[in-house]
């Protein structure tokens, strides 16, 4: 990296907020080390950093907690990591309005703690809340089990301030819960993986904390029966916050201590609502072959959300599949068969009610890419068969070289490229990492 822009950055944000050399090791992705990592402390500094980087032709990698840094194609060479960790405050929280505005670098854990003091929460979850930042969760559209009832970032973000690739500060949406003035820019940035702008401030809708909340785990003999139970729950009067399915291998995590396919359903609300639903769930699932309905402790439930990845040590790849809800358990069963046929092991978890599954693949010979790639392709095909898609969330470079990280979005991809060209004409924001060549 030429000295001039680096000096500019140092004088802008202070020397201690610009990292270079060995200090960059946490920011190495897919073997690529950035030129520098810079940590602005204000919106205007973010704007100025982008301006300097764009002026010097340096690609920018927006960086929150780094929990999803491995998602995507390998980053561009000679890039600048723009870290948002110093932008970590709640700017506004009016409990009466059920809204809050926070800076993007705030971790989910500290945001929830701050909101909790007002008796409220943001109904958006992400793995590793101590590290994951609000901006990162939104940029990667991360979500957790409770999305079943409460939706994802697109349903909760109502306003956003971003810095564009040309260094302009742009606000989209607003601070009110309902707003149709202008285009819905927040939707565009949710899940855009930092390719359209650096998200700096976010306004979200909040919910009052429920009086009571419980998660109930029910074991089944067969995965197919779990599928039947999921459909029964969805067609019933129950209003679960989450409907998760773990196959036998994923269920072996510490919290569940079983090797049986397991259904985990969450409820919240008034105590009497939660109570009635737990009883009703037990009655309903018992009739369908469910056994041992047990309440889960909250931390146990958190562990469960990452169950698949930890099933057999370090995975060879992790794939996220989106499909129609009714196809989930069939896809899990077929996916396990596809792995077994190639001598591999796998573990699946799914937010079954919304059709989002995560599968971790394990291989005794991690260097033997062929069976890994073939299995992943089979999985992807099963998502396509259901009108869905798949993303290779994590894999070593050798696997990424063989299996596309993203799906081909087809004709819609042309529209996406036109958007990218219009909104980031110099192509400085996270170039080459996303799908459709973006």
């Amino acid at each position: 990296m030429p000295a001039a822009p680096l000096d500019q950055l140092r004088s802008l944000v202070g020397t201690s907020h610009v990292l270079t050399g060995v200090e960059l090791s946490p920011y190495v992705v897919d073997g690529r080390t950035p030129e520098a990592a810079v940590f602005p402390g204000t919106l205007d500094e973010v704007r100025a950093v982008v301006e300097i980087a764009a002026g010097a032709g340096l690609p920018i990698i927006p960086w929150g907690g780094g929990t999803a840094a491995s998602v995507g194609h390998p980053p561009a060479a000679a890039a600048l990591v723009l870290g948002l960790r110093r932008l970590d405050r709640v700017l506004e929280h009016e409990p009466g309005d059920l809204t809050a505005t926070a800076q993007a670098g705030m971790t989910m854990a500290s945001l929830q703690a701050a909101l909790g003091r007002g008796g409220q929460w943001l109904s958006l979850e992400a793995p590793q809340p101590e590290r994951a930042t609000l901006g990162g969760v939104i940029a990667t559209n991360a979500s957790g089990p409770r999305r079943h009832l409460y939706g994802t970032a697109r349903d909760l973000v109502i306003g956003m301030t971003v810095v564009t690739g040309e260094g302009a500060v742009v606000r989209g949406g607003g601070k009110v819960v309902k707003n149709v003035a202008g285009y819905d820019l927040p939707k565009l940035f949710v899940g855009s993986y930092g390719t359209l702008g650096v998200i700096v401030e976010i306004t979200v809708k909040l919910r009052p904390r429920p009086e009571d909340e419980r998660f109930v785990a029910v074991r089944f003999e067969r995965l197919a029966d779990v599928g039947i139970a999921v459909r029964a729950v969805m067609a019933s009067d129950l209003i679960p916050t989450s409907i998760d399915v773990l196959d036998g291998d994923a269920a072996r995590v510490r919290a569940l201590r079983t090797a049986a396919p397991t259904l985990v359903v969450g409820f919240d609300g008034l105590a009497e609502q939660v109570q009635w639903q737990c009883v009703e769930l037990e009655r309903m699932t018992a009739a369908l072959g469910g056994r041992d309905a047990v309440p889960l402790a909250h931390d146990a439930w958190l562990a469960m959300t990452a169950a698949g990845r930890d099933a057999f040590g370090t995975p060879a790849a992790v794939m996220r599949l989106v499909m129609l809800p009714a196809h989930v358990t069939d896809a899990m069963a077929a996916g396990a068969e596809a792995a077994k046929a190639r001598g591999l092991a796998c573990a699946w978890t799914a937010h079954a009610g919304v059709g989002v599954a995560t599968a971790a693949l394990f291989s005794p010979r991690q260097t033997d890419v062929e069976p890994i790639a073939a299995t992943l392709e089979a999985w992807r095909a099963s998502a396509h068969a259901s009108g869905g898609h798949a993303t290779l969330e994590w894999a070593p470079l050798a696997v990424k070289a063989r299996v596309p990280v993203w799906d081909d979005p087809g004709a819609a991809g042309r529209v996406m490229r036109r958007i990218k060209e219009q909104l980031d004409p110099k192509n400085v924001l996270n170039p080459g990492r996303f799908l459709a060549g973006i």
Partner: protein, 491 residues
Amino acid sequence: MVPLAEPRKRALRRELAAIVGAGGVLSDPDELLVYESDGLTLFRALADFVVFPTSAEQVSAVVKLANREELPFVARGAGTGLSGGCLPAEGGIVLSLMRMNRVLEVDYDNQLAIVEPGLVNLHLSWAVGPSGYYYAPDPSSQQACTIGGNIANNSGGPHTLKYGVTTNHVLGLEVVLPDGEIVWLGGRTREAAGYDLAGVFVGSEGTFGIATKIAVRILKKPQAVKTVLAVFDEIERASAAVSAIIARGLVPAAVEMIDHLTIQAVEDAFGCGYPRDAAAALLVEVDGLAAGIEAQAARVVEACRDAGAREVRVARDEAERALLWKGRKSAFGAYGRLSPAYMVMDGVIPRTRLPHVLRRVNEIVAAHGLRVGNVFHAGDGNLHPNILYDPRVPGEETRVLEAGAEIMRLCAEVGGSISGEHGIGLEKTDFMPFIFSPADLAFMQRLKDAFNPTGRCNPGKIFPTRKTCGEAGPVAYRPHPIEEKGLAQRF
């Protein structure tokens, strides 16, 4: 706008008829006249043709023809919009989607339906109702408005407080892009690969293309519903009650306010049971499980009493509940009993600012010598001041527009928005600078260029046409730019 020369018009008519059939093209001026406005009669613009396609392929062919001829085009649903969004501001072709009104598929296992854009919103709930499902977004015009129109405006409704607006229920759409290409944005699954194109398309007011198939979520009907009517002698107490309900940790399905003047209109219309002498009434609904429903209703009742309601009661049965809602949902039309015309505002404010803003709204309208009725989504802070006027009285329209501009500025000043669900359309373009900077608008314009580079798809909407509106100080009425250009007449 220069009218099309007769020979060219005849030739175009033949070509359009070849696409949609002879019975699917209107070009007689007497027939085009009824398409000159939507639910907002303040703005009028005439099309050269109105066509009635019945498939995406026909829509695409019409759009390609329009492009070849360099004619603007715009889609239209039922025409119940309230911002002039579907008006052919620069003439050209109106594509009425009323003949694409089928429910194509319902998938109960996956809780979704595929519908055509001309389907009436309520008809989807009718279609899935017998199986225990419904379509949640419920604009007050749901008995007439179409789902395609809802897509354009990202329509809300009373129950959005708990269930969200249209965009929260759309999974994906088949659209005809402004260049005529047919593309699916999103699909049937909860997420699609790449940018959330369905998300940005919803609410783009017909400037990104024309939706021809829509995949929407359908929800299970709740087990139980309780509707509470709270009657207040002072509107400020009613406003305060709204925040008090939220402060008790409740998320009601709906919190609606209806003021004194509006109560007169709806009672005249249908005799719905709102007390005529009330200053304001709140209609609060809680729904969900039967378990706990009584407790939730009791909390609402308590919150309203504590806030100073003079009377609070829970609707006895479905019939009373339906009647109360009928009154609420018919309120706009019922103003016809009080006045030959009205202009509805659609500002949104943080709900904690309701008492202040409502007081100011009434002051502003009175200062302009006009009457206002308020009926709105109080829980969302989405105001609907309806300014009553008589277009036949010289000067009244000007005063209405002036008062409207002041109200929009007020909403912007308290951190709100100028539109919560009706859209910017033609009506509010010049007020966009109240809430957006030039950089914000330039960014949006680029996004528009990505979809609609020629600008032929629904021109004249959303973006301000003059820069002076961003200036500080009271906004003086000026003729709308499209009037000045002779593109539309004001009556």
